[in-house]
C-alpha cells in the first residue's frame, strides 16, 4: 500500500511533468535574481549564497505543496484512501515521500550548479547538497500539514505560505548555518546533526499531525 501510493503519485507527477519543471525553473530564476538585484561582487555573493539558496528552496517547495493532496481531494480519492484499513500515517508518509522525490530532489540536484554562480568552493557545494538533503524532507513533512489544513479553501496557496513559512525557520537557520560554517571554516557537523535531529522529529510527528488535519478537512 505504501509503495503503491507513492508510485501512483510519481506516475501522476510524470504525466504532469510541466508542473514539476515549473517549480525547478522557479528555483533557478529566483536564485539568479539576487545577483542582479545586489550586484556581482564575488565577496558579497559568497556571503549571501547560503541564504539565497535556502530561501529560494523554501519558496519553491512551498509552491508545489498544493499538489500533495489537492487533486486527490477534488476527485474523492483521498476520502477512499482514508477509508482503507491502512493507517493514515503511512498514507501521508507515502504521499510526502512522493512529493519530496518529485519537487525537492530536483532542487537538491540543481543547487550545486546554482552555487557555482555564487562562487562557492567545491567543498562548500558538497555541504550545500548534504544540508539540502537533510533539510528538504522536513520541508515536505511540515508543508504537508499546511497543505492538509488548507484543503479546498479559498486562496489556499497564499494561506499555506502564512502557515508553513514560520515553521520552516529552524530548517532555514540550521541549513544556512551549516553552509556558512563551511565557508568560515568553523565546525559544520553540529549544524548537520541539528538538521538531522529536526528531520527525525518531523518524521515522527508531522505525518501524525497531517493525518489529523486530513481527517478534519475531509469530514
Amino acid at each position: 500500500m505504501f509503495g503503491w501510493v507513492s508510485w501512483r503519485d510519481l506516475i501522476l507527477a510524470w504525466r504532469h511533468r510541466a508542473d514539476v519543471l515549473a517549480t525547478l525553473f522557479f528555483f533557478i530564476i529566483v536564485t539568479s535574481l539576487f545577483p542582479l538585484g545586489i550586484g556581482p561582487e564575488p565577496q558579497t555573493l559568497q556571503t549571501i549564497a547560503p541564504g539565497v539558496v535556502w530561501v529560494a528552496a523554501l519558496l519553491a517547495s512551498m509552491l508545489s505543496l498544493g499538489r500533495i493532496f489537492g487533486n486527490d481531494y477534488q476527485d474523492g480519492t483521498l476520502e477512499q484512501l482514508l477509508l482503507t484499513p491502512q493507517p493514515a500515517y503511512l498514507i501521508v508518509l507515502a504521499k510526502v515521500l512522493a512529493h519530496w522525490l518529485v519537487s525537492e530532489v530536483p532542487l537538491v540536484i540543481i543547487a550545486p550548479v546554482l552555487g557555482l554562480q555564487f562562487g562557492l568552493s567545491e567543498n562548500t557545494l558538497l555541504i550545500v547538497v548534504v544540508s539540502l538533503l537533510l533539510g528538504t524532507p522536513v520541508l515536505s513533512l511540515i508543508g504537508a500539514i499546511g497543505a492538509a489544513l488548507t484543503l479546498g479553501l479559498r486562496a489556499a496557496n497564499v494561506l499555506v505560505a502564512l502557515l508553513v513559512l514560520p515553521l520552516y525557520i529552524p530548517v532555514l537557520i540550521f541549513g544556512t548555518g551549516a553552509i556558512q560554517a563551511t565557508v568560515n571554516g568553523t565546525g559544520t557537523k553540529p549544524w548537520l546533526l541539528l538538521l538531522g535531529a529536526i528531520l527525525v522529529l518531523a518524521f515522527v510527528f508531522a505525518p501524525w499531525a497531517t493525518s489529523a488535519a486530513l481527517k478534519i478537512s475531509v469530514e
Binding site: I145, A209, I216, S217
Partner: protein, 245 residues
C-alpha cells in the same frame, strides 16, 4: 458552602457560560482599571529615573508585560484549542479563537514598544536580537492561526484545523526559540543585548502591577469576545433569545 463543588462540566456549555461570563466581565473590568491607574501612577511618579537611560526606560512598564502576555496567551490558546478538539467542547475552541486576537495584539504591542525603546537605548529601531526575532515569529504564528480560522467558513472545521495548527506551533515554539538564539550567537548579534539595569523596588512593583493589569484586561476582553462568538454561533439557539431578552 465549603463542601459544595463547582460543576465544571456545567460551565463548559455555552448556554451556562454565557450568563456567567456576563457577570464576571464587570468585576474584571473594574480590577483592570484600578490596577492600570495604580501601576501607571507608580511607574510614572514613584519609580525613579534611570541614571543610564533617563526617562525612556519607562517603556519597560508596558513592553515587558505585553511580551509576557503574548507568550502566555499563545500557550493558553493552544491549550484551549486542544481541549476543544480532544473533548469536542465547543466552548474551548471559542475561547481559543477569542484569545488569539488578544494575544496577537499584545505581541504587536511588545514589538512596537520594543522598537520604540530600541531607538533611545541602542540607536536603532530594530535589531535582529534573539528575543525580538522570536517575538516577530510568534506574531507570524498568531497571524497564521487567525487567518486560517478566518478563511474556513464551517466553524467546526475552523475550530479543529486551528487546534492542529496551534498545537504544531506550540511544539515548534521552543525549537524556533533555540534555533534563533543559536543563529544570533553565530552572527555575533550579542553586542546589542539589552543592558540589564538595576531595578529599584518601585520599578519592579510598577512592572508587576501592570503585569497583573494586563492579565485582568485579557480576561475581561476575552470574556467579552467569547460572548460575541457565542452569540454569533448560537444565534439559532432558543436559550440565547431568552438570555438576550
Amino acid at each position: 458552602m465549603s463542601t459544595r463543588r463547582i460543576n465544571w462540566y456545567k460551565y463548559a456549555a455555552p448556554a451556562n457560560f454565557y450568563p456567567l461570563a456576563g457577570k464576571m466581565i464587570p468585576f474584571f473590568t473594574v480590577v483592570t482599571v484600578l490596577l492600570f491607574i495604580i501601576g501607571l501612577y507608580v511607574g510614572f511618579f514613584v519609580a525613579p529615573t534611570d541614571f543610564q537611560q533617563g526617562e525612556s526606560y519607562r517603556i519597560i512598564f508596558i513592553h515587558v508585560p505585553a511580551a509576557w502576555m503574548g507568550m502566555f496567551l499563545y500557550v493558553l490558546m493552544a491549550v484551549y484549542a486542544g481541549l476543544g478538539w480532544a473533548f469536542n467542547a465547543r466552548l474551548g475552541s471559542m475561547m481559543a479563537t477569542a484569545i488569539s486576537t488578544t494575544g496577537a495584539i499584545f505581541t504587536f504591542i511588545s514589538l512596537v514598544t520594543g522598537s520604540l525603546w530600541g531607538r533611545p537605548a541602542w540607536g536603532v529601531y530594530w535589531v535582529w536580537d534573539a528575543r525580538m526575532t522570536s517575538t516577530l515569529i510568534l506574531m507570524f504564528l498568531y497571524i497564521g492561526f487567525i487567518s486560517l480560522q478566518a478563511s474556513i467558513d464551517d466553524s467546526r472545521r475552523a475550530d479543529r484545523a486551528g487546534a492542529v495548527l496551534a498545537l504544531v506551533g506550540l511544539i515548534n515554539v521552543p525549537i524556533i526559540y533555540f534555533s534563533v538564539q543559536w543563529w544570533n550567537t553565530l552572527h555575533q548579534g550579542a553586542t546589542f543585548t539589552a543592558r540589564s539595569f538595576k531595578m529599584a523596588p518601585s520599578m519592579l512593583s510598577a512592572m508587576l502591577i501592570l503585569m497583573a493589569a494586563c492579565w485582568m484586561y485579557s480576561i475581561a476582553v476575552v470574556l467579552v469576545r467569547v460572548r460575541c462568538i457565542i452569540r454569533e454561533r448560537e444565534r439559532e439557539a432558543p436559550w440565547l433569545a431568552e438570555a438576550v431578552a
